[in-house]
């Protein structure tokens, strides 16, 4: 490279040279090198970056990570590795999995993808999901790091014409772990994308969602829950982009924050000039269970067309006194009543999950968090 940009050697520099040598030359070699060069030039994001104002990843940047990637290659198409340092690093070390659901095929059993970053290791899963026209499937993406594992994941989803894709993303890493993930979604005409994103684990996690409608008559649900305690920090940044007419997007994100945990929600919805007939609803509701917990929420709706139905809103609050009183008058002791209300708040998102085994596991994880038996 003949760049004048100052390049700082990182824990990844030597590992990347070895990694590249070990996987040999293939169609992705050049791209990986470009992505790595970009990472070295930009580094990890810092709070000076407007998009990372509330999320400081210094602990990740300073970590002594051992790269753990099989380095499977694949065609990442238009993946925007320049989004930030994480995405550039992901592409450099990407271990690619491709899931292709053939046209007009209904896959009944859920397709499960599970990623585990071991203590001290850094993993770079990169999943490409193509739901071909008229297909129907459910993808379950699970993260379960142990110890101080570092997950740096990217998922690219293409929902083709009239395809129907349900996407569950469950992040239940150890509470010492670090997790960055980006989900890029493109929905084509008549496509139906329904995602539920559950964030329970990790000391520090961030999920970027970037969904774009590229043809008319498509719909998407982008829902999520973050349930945090101790010193956990979670940040969801999402962009839903209505570039074409007559698409529907619904987003419900809920946060439950206990002790001195911290949540960030930043949701942008764009309705472009020609996107008439758009139906875009967005809400972010947060429940603070302690005085030390904190959430920064910023729902943003930018509309450049009049013929649309849009709403957005955010709330931050505590349990409702009237709800609590109601449960008390039915004989539930105060702690149980509070736990039940908190559980109910979280359940609204979890109840969407149609796979009983996953729903059951999440139910008990939520109850565990509350130290409750219901």
């Amino acid at each position: 490279m003949s760049s004048t940009t100052a390049v700082t050697e990182t824990v990844f520099t030597k590992q990347f040279a070895e990694f590249r040598a070990s996987i040999g030359d293939d169609a992705m070699t050049k791209l990986r090198s470009e992505a790595f060069a970009y990472f070295e030039a930009t580094g990890f994001p810092t709070p000076k970056d407007e998009d990372w104002k509330y999320t400081n990843v210094a602990a990740v940047a300073g970590g002594q990570w051992t790269v753990d990637s099989a380095g499977a290659s694949g065609n990442t198409g238009e993946f925007n590795y320049k989004r930030n340092g994480f995405t550039a690093l992901n592409l450099a070390f990407a271990d690619i999995v491709v899931v292709r659901i053939p046209s007009e095929t209904i896959v009944v059993e859920p397709i499960e993808l599970s990623f585990t970053a071991e203590d001290g290791k850094a993993i770079f899963p990169h999943v490409i999901v193509v739901a071909e026209s008229g297909s129907k499937a459910t993808i379950v993406e699970t993260y379960a790091a142990s110890g101080r594992g570092f997950t740096n994941a990217a998922v690219q989803v293409l929902v083709e014409e009239n395809a129907n894709l349900t996407h569950y993303r469950v992040q239940k890493d150890s509470v010492e772990a670090f997790n960055y993930g980006v989900t890029e979604v493109e929905v084509r005409s008549g496509g139906h994308y329904d995602s539920t994103n559950i964030n329970l684990g990790a000391a520090l996690s961030r999920h970027d969602i970037d969904l774009k409608f590229v043809a008319e008559g498509a719909e998407a649900w982008v829902d999520g829950l973050y349930m945090l305690s101790g010193g956990q920090h979670h940040d969801t940044h999402s962009i839903i982009d209505h570039t074409v007419p007559n698409c529907l997007s619904h987003q419900t994100y809920k946060g439950v924050l206990n002790e001195n945990s911290r949540g960030v929600f930043n949701g942008k919805v764009f309705v472009r000039e020609n996107a008439h007939g758009t139906d875009a609803q967005q809400s972010n509701k947060n429940l603070l269970l302690s005085n030390e917990a904190r959430v920064d929420t910023k729902p943003q709706l930018e509309i450049f067309n009049d013929d649309v139905k849009c709403s957005h809103g955010a709330t931050v609050g505590q349990l409702e006194d009237e709800e609590l009183f109601y449960l008390l008058t039915r004989g539930l002791p105060k702690t149980l009543a509070k736990n039940l209300l908190t559980y109910g708040f979280a359940e609204e998102v979890i109840n969407k999950i149609e796979i009983e085994s996953i729903k059951g596991e999440l139910d008990s994880m939520v109850l565990n968090r509350l130290g409750a038996e219901i």
Partner: protein
């Protein structure tokens, strides 16, 4: 005596609303408390149930001879006091059956009785649901969420059926009900009425009393009971209006 209210003064935000209320209720009795808006009907219900924003200024409330005002709202409930809300609260994400089983089991634990597991409870609940002609599909739905006004009130009476309180206070249970829902709710209450429990009907209108016949009618005005009598008093009141009693005192 099941409930004895003696010279009760209570209010909200520093404003006295009940100004020396006396009431005696025995097991097996149905009492109607009637009164115009602002007379203190709702305050009485809330104070008996233990709503935290209402303050008791002075007076006494004994439930089975024990000081009711000493108890937290949940303790009162487990002792057998139940209030059907005028505006039942929605509890999203918690299913009706989950909620009712928890409530049932808390009371069972308190009284040293056997708890029910979900299957046993489901059978119990199905039986109870017949009281208010409630479809079992409501069991799985979140508590009161998306219920119509009538369904919410029926759900309150279902809760009463499940918890079998000794004293049930029905706070404006007739408000917002059409005639069919009113009939179902009233018939439900009549089925639950027995020699061991007592019911206090708090209502503005006489209409409910056509369906649930009270043993006693008390008329509340300006924080005090100003007239008392049998069920015929309600009809007289309907006829003459509340202005008739406003100046009166017992």
């Amino acid at each position: 005596m099941l409930l004895e209210v003696k010279d009760l003064h209570a209010g909200i935000d520093g404003k006295e609303i009940l100004k020396g209320l006396n009431l005696q209720v025995n097991a097996g009795e149905v009492h109607a408390i009637m009164g115009p808006n602002g007379s203190g009907k709702s305050t009485l219900s809330k104070v008996l149930a233990g709503h935290p924003t209402y303050e008791v200024i002075s007076g006494e409330v004994l439930f089975e001879g024990k000081d009711l005002l000493e108890l937290e709202p949940d303790e009162r409930a487990r002792e057998g006091v139940f209030m059907a809300f005028q505006y039942p609260v929605e509890v999203p994400g918690v299913s009706n059956s989950q909620f009712l089983r928890l409530a049932y089991n808390q009371k069972a634990i308190h009284h040293g009785q056997e708890e029910l597991d979900p299957l046993e409870f489901n059978d119990y609940l199905k039986e109870k649901a017949k009281v208010v002609e409630m479809d079992p599909q409501f069991f799985k739905r979140s508590v009161n969420e998306g219920f119509s006004g009538g369904e919410k009130k029926r759900n309150e009476i279902l809760q009463m059926a499940v918890l079998e309180p000794k004293l049930a206070i029905l706070d404006e249970t007739d408000s917002g009900l059409d005639i069919d829902a009113l009939r179902i709710v009233a018939e439900g209450v009549n089925k639950l009425r027995n020699d061991n429990n007592a019911i206090i009907l708090v209502t503005h209108y006489q209409r409910l009393l056509n369906y649930i016949q009270p043993d006693f009618v008390h008329v509340l005005a300006n924080g005090k009971i100003v007239k008392e009598g049998g069920k015929e008093l309600a009809l007289e009141l309907e006829d003459k209006g509340y202005d008739w009693v406003k100046g009166a005192s017992v």
